[in-house]
Amino acid sequence: MSDEEMERIVFRPLVYSGRGFYALVVLLSGLTLLGVYAYITQLSQGLIVTGMNDEVIWGIYITNFVFFIGISHAGTLISAILRLTKAEWRRPITRMAEAITVFALIVGGSMILIDMGRPDRIQNVIFFGRMQSAILWDFLSIATYLTGSFIYLYLPLIPDLARLRDKLKNVSRFKMWIYRKFSLNWKDTPEQKRRLELGIGIMAVLIVPIAVSVHTVVSWIFGMTTRAGWHSTIFGPYFVVGAIFSGIASVIIAMAILRKAYGLEKFLKPKHFKYLGLMLLTLNIAYLYFTLSEYLTTGYSGPEAEALLLEQIFGGSYATYFWIFAVFGIIIPAFILAIPKTRTIGGIVVASVMVNLGMWIKRFIITVPSLAVPQVGLEWGMYSPTWVEWAITLGAFSAFSLLFLLFSKFFPLISIWEVKEAPATSDEVSE
């Protein structure tokens, strides 16, 4: 591909917006505003407008929180691992993956604020914070991950911003101001290049343990309590594997949508979907293994509360959700990804959508039933989310999509300089 062609394709979304774009912005903004309206309702009347109660203390806000923090692993972690292992095929997908991380963290983190009874006192976490609390661990690791991911998204953007500054004509003054300001006087000198590569290299190494810590600590919020189904030593790795699992699925879905919408077929080739699909299959099997290991150990000889919980999950009031997760979120995607005939772009995308739906349900099954188990007596807690909770959830997904959509209109989705620098391998041959 020539430089001109590459730039033409990658720059196009930045200079041209069709009717579809505006329609989508209106739709997503509307749905986000619906969520905002629901949150205002909740602020004015209290959490009583939700389905949560003194037994089922956390609900789908925490489900969303775990889900979004999970898909945040998509990006930065996958991008960093592929960079560190020098997987050359990563080059066209890292930017999208890294952007998913930043936006998923912003939306996921705000779920905690939305779940709080007194969001006006959030500053107490800083002024009165106690390091003994897993919530503080979470606060610190997510803040660190967000900062790190932001830097890790920004550094490789600098040469591309400079290119936009130099080559783009007919864009708004605001956009040009961004490109000029944030390209930091980039002139593509060898010294600048050396420093940039060093910075990206350091961030790639740092981001891996930070990302692992984030979902480990999210799991510890649950694991540090004595609740049935939560008090488990494998919860840390179990959550990390689940996060990477749903993260890869999110990258695949985003890639497929953007490829279609912006005509990126020349960058995002079938092999990218195939490689990510195989990674997804690996994580699928790993997640299945962890799930089996967790349930079998507690179910075989766990305390009574654990047995009661598993009864409800496998055959009781949560069975529908569980089996939807197991069949449609794990087993069917595994076959779609394993059989070469169905491992097409279409098949891989369908599997990814199923995986993400399944993983949202799994996070629900992790959060809610353990709280519904009676700790004293026999009465199970009940929970059904209200319209406020659903509207906020819908708003969260819309806000996430909207942020990504707007990002795609300001910044190139493909890291041009990195793709250009790819060593001339047997790339085309391996197709």
């Binding site: 209290g46 959490l47 949560m52 037994e55 203390i57 976490v125 919530i135 700790q375």
Partner: protein, 253 residues
């Protein structure tokens, strides 16, 4: 209130005279109960407020819950002391089980609180500072006894409740968006009175006192804790969790 206090002091006096102060070993208790209000905060370390609940006497009438709700101005859906019906032995009938806050010596709720709103005083009473609580409800998730409640909406107010000066020891006026629970009526003890649930129990199943003094009272009689634990084989609920509750149960005889 004052009359109750006088009655309590009188019964302490009568009990002391009747059974003999030295024998019961509660000379310090009566001193403590009568002069508690004058003690400084450092003296809290000398006390170990605790509770003994005689399951053999509990009829499950719910008077303790109602008395507690009235004394703390809390709505009916909050049962800081809640009566459960437990059936843990298939060969024995079910029984009533009042569950207050256990005021654990190693409280999971305190451990997980991100802002230190839940704290444990030197005398062992676990309280919540509602001026700091951020409403994350992690403490409710962590409590193995489901002893905590949340003000999901605006709590109902009364003029008397609103006129009160808030303190974690007497946590009203209540506010929305924070966690609440049994405060062990700690100001009652300091004034030489018994908690609302103890006074409210018509069958005298709930005893309260200073475990450091080895004595608890239900307002009618005084028990020597070590003695009654030995004879009745008292236990603590969910002992295996290692929370070290300050509430002891006496099984049905």
């Amino acid at each position: 209130m004052n009359e109750e206090r006088r009655r309590f002091i009188k019964f302490v006096g009568l009990g002391a005279a009747g059974v003999g102060i030295g024998l019961l070993g509660f000379s310090n208790l009566s001193k403590l109960l009568t002069s508690a209000a004058a003690l400084g905060p450092n003296d809290l370390k000398m006390r170990k407020w605790g509770m003994v609940i005689d399951l053999g006497k509990c009829t499950g009438c719910g008077a303790c819950t109602e008395a507690c709700q009235a004394a703390h101005f809390i709505p009916f859906n909050q049962e800081w002391i809640k009566i459960y019906e437990l059936h843990d032995n298939p060969l024995a009938p079910s029984y009533h089980f009042p569950r207050p806050c256990m005021h654990c010596e190693d409280p999971p709720c305190r451990n997980v609180c991100p802002v230190g709103a839940t704290f444990r005083r030197d005398d062992g009473v676990v309280l919540i500072d509602h001026r700091i609580c951020i409403g994350c409800r992690y403490c409710m998730v962590a409590c193995p006894y489901s002893a905590r409640y949340f003000n999901w909406g605006d709590p109902p107010h009364t003029p008397e409740e609103l006129a009160h000066d808030y303190s974690p020891e007497e946590p009203w006026p209540h506010q929305r968006g924070v966690v609440e629970k049994c405060d062990f009526c700690v100001t009652h003890g300091e004034k030489g009175m018994l908690p609302a649930c103890v006074i409210g129990c018509p069958s005298g199943a709930v005893y309260y006192g200073d475990l450091a003094e080895d004595a608890v009272s239900n307002g009618k009689e005084i028990l020597r804790v070590s003695e009654v634990m030995r004879v009745r084989q008292g236990y603590r609920f969910k002992e295996e969790l290692g929370t070290h509750p300050r509430v002891y149960y006496l099984p049905r005889g």
